[in-house]
């Protein structure tokens, strides 16, 4: 369990955007792993199995507990999503982001920035960049259209960039 608990918790936390929920999900994942212990013991695919179960459980958790709120929380974004072209990037994209920071510092900044994104942007973004699923796979998993997934990911990137740059700037200020 110790070998995989960071990976399981990270996956759940990045997808859920909430540490308390991520810990609940991670607990459930390891209980399921215990129930399949005879299959997983010594298996080279144990890590993949745990990652898949974590992703599935988190998506189930989010759809179960947040479906009832979706109508309210996305009331405003539904009208915003009607245009499929997405926002124009009105700033220069840097060649690198947070490149001068240590991995731990970058991780803390990225995790905090991810939490600021709404679910419908964070989920596809994390599935695309961290879990490396294709747009079509994400659309199938989240049961939404391919166009919406592309739009949400594009907007998530556009929202994430200034958050990361702000955090980098704040860190520079603190360091200075």
């Amino acid at each position: 369990m110790r070998a995989y608990q960071d990976m399981v918790f990270s996956t759940a936390a990045r997808l859920a955007g909430n540490d308390t929920q991520a810990e609940d999900i991670a607990q459930e994942v390891f209980i399921r792993a215990y129930e399949h212990f005879s299959d997983l013991r010594g298996s080279v695919t144990a890590g993949g199995w745990l990652k898949t179960v974590t992703t599935n459980l988190t998506l189930n958790y989010l759809s179960r507990y947040r479906k009832r709120w979706r109508l309210f929380s996305e009331m405003r974004s539904t009208s915003e999503d009607s245009d499929t072209d997405g926002p124009e990037l009105d700033w220069e994209v840097p060649d690198t982001i947070l490149a001068d920071l240590s991995a731990e510092q970058r991780s803390a900044i990225v995790e905090a920035a991810l939490k600021q994104l709404p679910d419908h942007q964070r989920l596809p973004l994390v599935l695309y960049h961290f879990e490396e699923l294709s747009y079509q796979e994400i659309a199938d998993r989240l049961n939404v259209s391919l166009t919406k997934i592309k739009t949400d990911i594009r907007r998530a990137r556009a929202a994430l960039l200034p958050l990361l740059q702000d955090c980098g700037g704040a860190r520079d200020t603190l360091d200075g």
Partner: protein, 160 residues
């Protein structure tokens, strides 16, 4: 640089920044929580865990007893109902319940149509409008409460 090129560059830059991140450290409480939960499950008696985890003998016995009970109930009910009557008589008895049921439904329908005729249409439209107004009010209150209580508290807890 046009918008498409900027977006492609942004995707690459972000992917580079996100991909190499180390996993976050799991809370120290996670391991103890899992072990505690497993110990709690292990301490439960076999009949308190899910059916799939029951001993095979208990599962077989449970299924057999249930099947016997269902069979006994059906056979007992049928034999008590039929007694020494013929099958036609039994069918007639069953269908005998249908006529009163239809009569009750017909009376209820007549009562509704009578009320619709007697009550002025303005009252009916007013009641309908009031119902819609109450629904919209409750929906609005729910949305406002969610945005005020749930969204603000979660964003405060998740802030940078």
């Amino acid at each position: 640089m046009n918008n498409t090129e900027s977006e492609q560059k942004l995707e690459q830059v972000l992917h580079q920044a996100l991909k190499g991140l180390p996993p976050r450290r799991a809370p120290r409480t996670l391991e103890s929580r899992v072990l505690e939960s497993l110990a709690q499950r292990a301490s439960l008696h076999w009949w308190r865990v899910s059916f799939a985890n029951w001993p095979v003998g208990a599962r077989v016995a449970f299924v057999l007893i249930c099947a016997a009970l269902v069979a006994a109930t059906i056979l007992g009910g049928v034999s008590a109902y039929l007694g020494d009557r013929s099958l036609n008589e039994a069918a007639a008895l069953v269908l005998g319940w249908v006529h009163p049921l239809l009569a009750v439904m017909s009376s209820a329908g007549g009562l509704v149509s009578l009320l619709v005729r007697v009550i002025p249409p303005v009252w009916l439209y007013g009641a309908l409008g009031l119902g819609v107004l109450l629904y919209v009010t409750l929906f609005g209150l729910g949305a406002a409460a969610y945005r005020t209580l749930y969204l603000q508290s979660s964003s405060a807890g998740d802030g940078l």
